[in-house]
């Protein structure tokens, strides 16, 4: 019984220790500013950015945010189930306009990264394309004559006609599904511009839809993700995907992230800028107040710098240093000058419908 009397003091001390310990753990585990998790859909080509530990650290430490994402095509995500989602991170203004059409004004939106649409191919294919006068070299960069390419695609020129006997079938630019994913969608918009002889609008586009349908119908099955298409371009070899449409950022990111592989295959892989090309504007669409915080974090000067240096997205810092040396990618244009705007949403809407 006597022992009982001594106990309250001991218990008090133990309790105090427990409280101190709990407080310490609490502080160590994030100091009470538990990061807010934002949920959303993102185009596959930006997953490298979101998975980047350095960038995630800035999100966590400076902005108290983590991003939890699911991969979806830029247009697909607009019609996906948005309940419980804080943001969409598509790759174009078209997706934003599509969103506005369906859901009205979002809480906030901003273009956070840019990258031009490019074509990827292999050295032997480049030589054949150059031989046929489709591709020209200028200041160490390759440019595709889009008028000539559109003609060749419409005529059904075969690879064998270009001297590539080992490639089966007609010349084609493999793209993602233009009704679901942005890079394919932008290539369709670019072709529409080329066929219209200027930026396609709701009236002028009608004339060229049958020709667009012809070109895309030849592609058959199309991937729904730009990152999957690029992965296949690299892994299935020249025969499977001789010429694909993608983003400039994809190759730059690959070269930085996989230096050994790049050293082995870099000589064979070629980036061609369409002339003219279009900008892919990666828009962060905040669906709610919580999502809006994601824009501030993405616009952080260090995030913008890392997005260029490690993932190849053009931001305010790109084109300022010796970029070609940084990436080790030959044929990287310092500035993207020959650019045409994407057709406005009403024209794109007709294109998407025609190609669905």
């Amino acid at each position: 019984m006597r022992a009982m009397k001594a106990k309250p003091k001991v218990i008090g001390f133990v309790l105090l220790l427990a409280v101190v310990a709990a407080a310490a753990i609490y502080l160590l585990a994030g100091g009470g500013r538990r990061p807010a998790a934002l949920r959303g859909y993102v185009g596959g080509e930006k997953i490298g950015v979101l998975e980047d530990e350095e960038i995630a650290g800035i999100f966590r430490n400076r902005y108290g945010l983590t991003l939890d994402y699911a991969k979806a095509g830029s247009l697909d995500m607009v019609t996906a189930d948005l309940s419980g989602q804080d943001f969409l991170f598509p790759s174009s203004q078209t997706a934003l306009e599509y969103y506005q059409q369906l859901h009205g004004q979002p809480a906030k939106s901003e273009i956070v990264f840019n990258t031009p649409l490019v074509l990827y191919t292999r050295r032997p294919v480049l030589q054949a394309l150059a031989g046929a006068g489709l591709v020209r070299e200028e200041d160490g960069c390759c440019y595709m004559d889009m008028d000539a390419l559109a003609d060749a695609l419409l005529e059904g020129v075969r690879w064998a006609d270009l001297g590539l006997e080992e490639l089966y079938g007609p010349l084609a630019v493999s793209t993602t599904d233009p009704a679901k994913s942005n890079s394919g969608n932008m290539f369709a918009g670019l072709l529409a511009n080329v066929l219209c002889g200027g930026v396609a609008d709701a009236a002028s586009v009608q004339d060229v839809l049958p020709r667009l349908q012809l070109i895309f119908s030849r592609l058959g099955y199309m991937e729904t993700s730009s990152s999957d298409l690029f992965d296949q371009f690299l892994k299935t070899g020249m025969g499977a995907k001789p010429l694909v449409a993608g983003y400039e950022s994809q190759l730059l990111e690959f070269a930085v992230q996989n230096p050994e592989d790049w050293a082995a295959i870099g000589d064979d892989i070629v980036m061609i800028y369409p002339s003219p090309t279009v900008w892919s504007a990666h828009v962060f669409i905040a669906l709610d107040e919580a999502g809006a915080a994601g824009i501030d974090a993405l616009m952080d000067a260090d995030v913008q710098r890392l997005a260029w240096e490690k993932h190849g997205f053009r931001t305010a810092v790109s084109g300022t240093g010796d970029d070609a040396a940084r990436f080790g990618v030959s044929g990287l244009a310092r500035q993207i000058t020959r650019v045409v705007p994407m057709p406005a949403y009403d024209a794109m809407d007709q294109i998407i419908t025609a190609l669905s």
Binding site: Y41, I47, Y69, A70, K71, A72, D76, M77, A80, S83, G156, E166, L167, Y168, G169, P170, A172, S217, R218, L219, G220, Y221, M222, E223, T224, S225, D228, D231, Q232, L234, K235, T236, G237, M238, G239, A240, P242, E260, D261, A264, I265
Partner: protein, 541 residues
């Protein structure tokens, strides 16, 4: 209002989750012998995080790599093997009870991932779908040392000089790829397949004639290889890596090896993507990424290349050239220029046509166990399973529809065969057959051998060259009688008819496995996932 609805909905989900958990617990408790504790076709390692992977059967060959990884890392990897089309359907379902998918081609992830659950998908290896033809026959046909078209192969088939086996086009990626290649060739190599072109009447005739020469269609590529090794066939359509693996086995057995033929106008590539199915667990996601990084590491990619798969960005390495042997016709340096897969709507139209009109009609004898031991659950499982194939609305969901001229025979049995009901085609007769299956009473002893023997006897009345014949036993397996009568009947028939079995109720597989061994058949467990097991059986004929 909206918030309230959400709350209600989450309440319903919670309830559903509870029910699911209870069902799962019951299911596990009721799990019979012969299944490993964690379930799955293969279980590697134990403890730690468990990754359940739904994979194409061709990845069975990578088992040693997965096993070693699981052991070293202290994780558990559970592999379930299904055809690529089943993997697509599993992704389309509301719930996908897997942490990762690994089909033969990324096509099936794109077509299946309608819920946007798959991420981190990366190709682990690449292998083309090619023909492997007995070397002497390939030489005789003039297929050695020159470019061969699908048309050349089809001409040899038409002339009766070549027959081959392939997997079912509606279950497995390799069969589907080959079939699409045939369509292109028959339609005169258009740039891309269209719905209009498929409607050409001449196509149906030509395709039926071709598929009539197909030895047997298996539901999975790895099993096709096993079947090929167990039998005496001329050729098979399969992945390059499985042709290599078959050749290693053939050579070890002192048998003639296969010569690899790459049809230049009908080639397809399988890029074997491994993708994470996001179920919200960070632990699992990390475990997945670790496994994927391991599989994609230089050393393991090299090891995978030695199994006959093409890996990495630079093609086959100098050291591994000996795997892709030139004397087997392998061409590691070939630029693999595949045909274009059609857009998904056309692709699915192709598959429907295959199932309902093009493929060789099946002639299936179902021996259904109505003995006393099936009373209750066993019997109701059996009737439910039959509803999945006989009722065409159900069958269409899994590309299991009957074709216009196929024959289905049902022999209900107890201690002796009780009747024999036949239905021709895919119309009213088939529906009537289901009504009979449903109303047949249960009771009495069991002699499944007598029923199978009678089934074989009935097959004697058909010109079996016009059909893909099979016997499917659905039983709990505990039979009296003896196998001798069956073996005598099998010998008298003198035909290569597989006897498949699906187990029900308190099943004992011993006797049914004996039947399968004697006939190149296979035993499926209907107790775990009855419909899936049944679908597999149907795919194999």
């Amino acid at each position: 209002m909206n918030g309230r609805k959400k709350l209600l909905r989450s309440g319903v989900w919670r309830l559903a989750a509870l029910v699911m958990a209870a069902v799962l617990a019951l299911g596990l408790a009721g799990c019979g012998a012969g299944r490993q504790e964690a379930g799955g076709d293969d279980v590697f390692g134990s403890g730690g995080v468990t990754l359940r992977i739904l994979s194409g059967s061709e990845n069975r060959e990578l088992a040693p790599i997965l096993e070693r990884y699981a052991r070293e890392k202290g994780v558990t990897i559970v592999m379930d093997y299904q055809g690529s089309l089943d993997i697509m359907r599993a992704l389309q379902a509301e719930e996908t009870p897997y942490d990762a998918v690994w089909p033969a081609s990324s096509l099936w992830i794109s077509a299946g991932d309608t819920h946007h659950r798959v991420k981190h998908a990366q190709s682990v290896s690449v292998t083309p779908v090619i023909f492997g033809i007995r070397e002497s026959l390939a030489r005789q046909l003039g297929f050695v040392g020159r470019e061969v078209s699908v048309g050349d192969i089809l001409a040899a088939t038409r002339a009766g000089e070549l027959s081959f086996c392939m997997t079912s086009a509606t279950q497995s990626n390799s069969g589907c790829s080959a079939y699409i290649g045939f369509l292109y060739a028959m339609l005169g190599s258009p740039d891309v397949l269209t719905a209009d072109a498929l409607a050409e009447p001449a196509l149906a005739e030509e395709m039926q004639a071709l598929l009539a020469g197909v030895d047997r269609s298996s539901g999975s590529s790895d099993w096709l290889k096993d079947l090929f090794l167990a039998g005496d066939y001329d050729a098979m359509v399969n992945y390059e890596c499985l042709i290599i693996s078959a050749n290693r086995e053939l050579e070890a057995q002192g048998r003639e090896t296969l010569y690899a033929v790459y049809p230049y106008d009908g080639l397809s590539l399988a890029d074997s993507p491994l993708g994470y199915v996001d179920g919200g667990s960070e632990e699992k996601e990390q475990a997945f990424l670790d496994l994927q990084a391991y599989l994609l590491s230089g050393e393991v990619q090299d090891e995978i290349q030695r199994t006959g798969r093409r890996t990495g960005y630079e093609g086959v390495s100098e050291e591994n050239r000996e795997v892709f042997r030139a004397d087997w016709g392998l061409q590691p340096d070939r630029v693999l220029s595949p045909i274009r897969m059609p857009a998904s709507d056309v692709l699915f139209q192709c598959l429907d046509l295959y199932q309902t009109s093009f493929r060789k009609p099946s002639l299936t004898v179902y021996c259904l166990d109505y003995s006393g031991s099936m009373e209750g659950e066993g019997s109701s499982q059996l009737v439910d399973a039959m509803a999945q194939v006989l009722i065409q609305e159900n069958a269409a969901r899994h590309f299991l529809q009957a074709s216009q001229s196929e024959v289905n025979i049902v022999i209900p049995f107890a201690s002796e065969p009780l009747a024999a009901w036949a239905a021709v085609g895919n119309g009213a007769e088939l529906e009537a057959l289901y009504a009979q299956v449903e109303s047949q009473p249960v009771g009495g002893g069991t002699d499944l051998y007598a029923a199978v023997a009678q089934g074989l006897q009935l097959l004697e009345g058909y010109d079996l060259s016009q059909y893909t014949p099979a016997v499917i036993v659905m039983s709990d397996g505990m039979s009296g009688g003896s196998m001798d009568g069956f073996l005598a009947a099998y010998e008298r028939l003198g035909q290569d008819v597989p006897v498949f079995s699906i187990l029900f109720g308190e099943a004992d597989p011993t006797q049914l496995e004996e039947l399968a061994r004697a006939t190149n058949g296979r035993v499926f467990d209907g107790r775990e996932d009855l419909v899936a097991a049944f679908r597999s059986v149907k795919g194999y004929n």
